[in-house]
Symmetry: C2
């Protein structure tokens, strides 16, 4: 079994963090996996220019105002997007992705790619499981 990562060492590195830092790392990664976060970041990355709230909402198809607002607040707090308010009527607010977020996306991308490339393996695993497992369910 190939093993390129030394997991004992990796785990030790994690435990070197304070408990607070460790939980922050988890929070960041968890947040990335929330329903709209990656999508919003990807759209901002693709646009390669600041986007108004409403333009972004059009691109992130299906998101609600409430959810988009929340996601953007979180991303702003994490330093992954910037928010610029213009004192105009009607209001104009522009969101842009930061270099920090672009760095992060560079690392997320291979994982996403890998998953899509291997999607057939997952479908096969599901089919096997769904076929075999009913047999081990107890009868009433």
């Amino acid at each position: 079994m190939k093993k390129s990562i030394d997991w004992a060492e990796a785990n030790a590195a994690c435990e070197a963090l304070t408990e607070q830092q460790d939980s922050l790392t988890r929070d960041i990664v968890t947040r990335l996996a929330e329903k709209w976060t990656l999508w919003a970041l990807a759209e901002l990355a693709e646009a390669d220019a600041p986007l108004r709230f409403s333009r972004l909402m059009e691109r992130v198809e299906g998101v609600s105002q409430k959810s988009l607002t929340k996601v953007l607040r979180q991303l702003e707090r994490d330093g992954l997007v910037t928010r610029a308010v213009f004192a105009e009527v009607p209001p104009r607010v522009e969101y842009a992705i930061t270099d920090l977020a672009l760095e992060m996306l560079e690392l997320v991308h291979p994982l996403w790619q890998w998953t899509t490339v291997n999607i057939a393996k997952f479908e096969a695993a599901h089919a096997t499981y769904d076929h075999e497992v009913p047999a081990r369910v107890k009868r009433a």
Copy 2:
């Protein structure tokens, strides 16, 4: 602004998937970010040998029986762990990580590493945000 990934192209690749496959990809990635999933996988990877349910539960500190069971069922269904039941009393069940999961962990690891390395930037961003934003809150 450096831009090593062609996001337009990346997005096009995503849209080439069926809607069902796209949602499956999201499910897989979302599952990875659930509370105990990565931890359990990392322990199985570190052990480098099958682990009994109770041994794994000791290693994944703080997880409940219910949650660990659920996570393992999902991972088994996704083909990321194997489950071997021995017809003994008391029961013995051994879980092992698959090569598919090891491949995936190789891609998750850099992301996690990057996050821990940059933890100070996130802490700084939070401090800035928490300091500045109260000023833009409306007064009652």
